[in-house]
Amino acid sequence: MSELLQFLFSGVTIGAVYALVALGFTIIYNASDVVNFAQGEFVMLGGMITWFAHAAGLPLPLAALIAIAATACLGVAMNKLMIEPARGAPVVSLIIITIGASIFIEGAAQLVFDKQIHSFPAFSGDAPIRVGGATILPQSLWVTGGAIAVFVGLWLFFTRTLLGRAVLATSNNRLAAQLVGINTTFVMTLSFALSAAIGALAGVLATPITLTSYGVGIGFALKGFAGAMLGGMGNPKGALVGGFAIGMIEALTAGYLSSQYKDAAAFVVILAVLFFLPQGLFGRTSTDRV
């Protein structure tokens, strides 16, 4: 029993990280139908900048704030310099651009920072919390809390605000969005800023658990992408559920079946779910008629 509980805690810890990364994908995707493969780099920057600022003597909260703000700026710059000039390009081209951006940011990070692995202290210490014979670290709760908070924020944004609707409108039909007076350029800028900030926040919260280095971006991007797709890309609920689901599957497979093939289990589940729900768990089915 305590064994199962421990596996579940492990799943929560992993899943919360994935969910937080997956949530970062939603805004840019919702604004432009593009999966930004540089999202993982935002997570990396969140961790690395915080570490550097902290190592330079700044208090951790301030360092984290700086990291989030700086990454958001970088997101905006990426949009202005790379995405906007490519307006109207086919989606595959945009994907290649985001991959190129990811390689670029990674390359820059290893110069600006270094190639070592880093971490900073957990926010509320390392004393494990004991529940029913199993333990979980307080930082896991921070990440979980962060994921849920971001989810609630995004959910309110997309369902309750006109601006959120404008973001959806922009990806659905850019031309029409302009015709109803939506500044699509601004929407894109905003989306990149928000996505980057969420990514950096993920990095800040997760680093005490996962550690960070210039190259962790791709791994995060991949798992976050898988989580987001399992849940249904673009839907915050999907990102949250998808991320946690993958974490759980990995932990339970590692615990009960084979730790070698736990990633395989995650992908087998994704394939199985997509077989029955081609749009993921909560993805919107396209309603275009012929």
Binding site: T135, S140, L252, A254
Partner: protein, 357 residues
């Protein structure tokens, strides 16, 4: 001018190993030339970054041989890249000193291939030796699925029997994983387990060590030489790392070495130079590059020639050369040149390395 080549994984998944290796080589070449080179000839180092990709490594090796016309090659941060370079070097009959662990690189012995690190097998032997002394016979093992971890896992499993050690739980993790409590819980629940071994490198072992503490497993905990650097203690946290044992090299305990230790001067000099130049602490892996360069330049100096064949012969004749990793003595049947004595069993106490003996 003597042209030496190197293909190192300065980027990619093994960058934190390749990076200090590359920096070490650059530093040593600079120092050597400043001191007048080898027998008055300057050394030129042509170094490529293979990003850890064996395919790229092969191309760069070809380039070094065919285009840059080097007389010897250092490199192959990982086993995969080393195997690629090895094939080219053997074909071209150019001496090659690998920086990777796998025993396959020099076993069977190939005429032109040498290596500086201990083999994975030796690391396992060293660990089990210690376990045997402590009386542990049933252990759990958790290793990474990367090249290093997988190779250690296989070697340790194959030598465990020699030391009367039984592996009762055998788990793995992906190098990018964020939490290994599930695997560790399984190990803890394995009946009769007395100690746990985690061979791996990169961030994985740090996370495993923290999870180990989190679960309060309490059993003796062994790591491998893959994490033999100060960085590991920092990342895992001194508290979680307390009591961890691992086979390391003299480099980590430079100041604890006896005054008459033959390695003391080399180790202290390298440590001082490297830390002054890069501002980061030395680690075992940079030491491998240091030793490779040392062996090579020593051989060229002794050969008095920069003909590849002459260099090869001189390397094979190396005897009692003290490096940071150990004291090298090569022969026509031994292209590793180290024995178990080069490993020192270390333990982390109060956030610092301590010699176990």
């Amino acid at each position: 001018e003597i042209r030496l080549g190197a293909s190192i994984s300065a980027t990619g998944p093994a960058a934190f190993l390749g990076d200090p290796e590359a920096k070490t080589l650059e530093m040593l070449v600079e120092a050597l030339n400043a001191a007048g080179g080898i027998n008055g000839e300057d050394v030129k180092l042509v170094m490529y970054d293979d990003g850890g990709d064996p395919n790229k490594a092969r191309t760069f090796a070809t380039r070094l041989v065919e285009d840059d016309e080097v007389v010897a090659i250092i490199g192959g941060t990982s086993t995969g890249t080393s195997m690629s370079i090895l094939a080219i070097a053997e074909d071209a009959e150019i001496p090659f000193i690998s920086l990777a662990g796998a025993i396959d690189i020099i076993d069977p012995v190939k005429p032109y291939t040498f290596k500086t690190p201990h083999t994975d097998r030796m690391a396992c032997q060293k660990i089990f030796e210690d376990m045997k002394t402590q009386g542990y016979t049933k252990i759990g093992m958790i290793s990474g699925t990367d090249g290093f971890g997988a190779s250690m896992q296989a070697q340790c499993k194959s030598v465990a029997g020699d030391y009367g050690v039984e592996i009762v739980a055998d788990e793995t993790y992906d190098p990018k994983d964020a939490d290994m409590t599930a695997q560790l819980t399984k190990i803890r629940n394995a009946p009769g387990v007395q100690a746990v071994l985690n061979p791996g490198f990169g961030q994985g072992p740090s996370i495993v060590t923290r999870n180990y503490k989190q679960l309060d497993i309490g059993l003796p905990f062994y790591q491998s030489h893959g994490v033999a650097s100060d960085g590991f203690i920092q990342l895992a946290g001194a508290e979680a790392a307390e009591g961890v044992r691992l086979p390391g090299t003299a480099l980590l305990v430079a100041d604890l070495l006896a005054e008459d230790d033959v390695q003391k001067p080399v180790v202290t000099a390298y440590k001082a130079a490297f830390e002054a130049k890069t501002g980061t602490p030395v680690g075992t892996f940079g030491g491998y590059a240091h030793d490779a360069f040392l062996i090579l330049t020593d051989a060229i100096a002794r050969a008095g020639s920069s003909e590849p064949a002459a260099i090869r012969d001189a390397i094979e004749a190396t005897s009692g050369l003290a490096g940071t990793t150990g004291v090298y003595t090569f022969s026509s049947t031994d292209h590793l040149g180290l024995d178990l004595s080069a490993f020192r069993m270390l333990e982390i106490r109060g956030g610092k390395w301590a010699l176990v003996e």
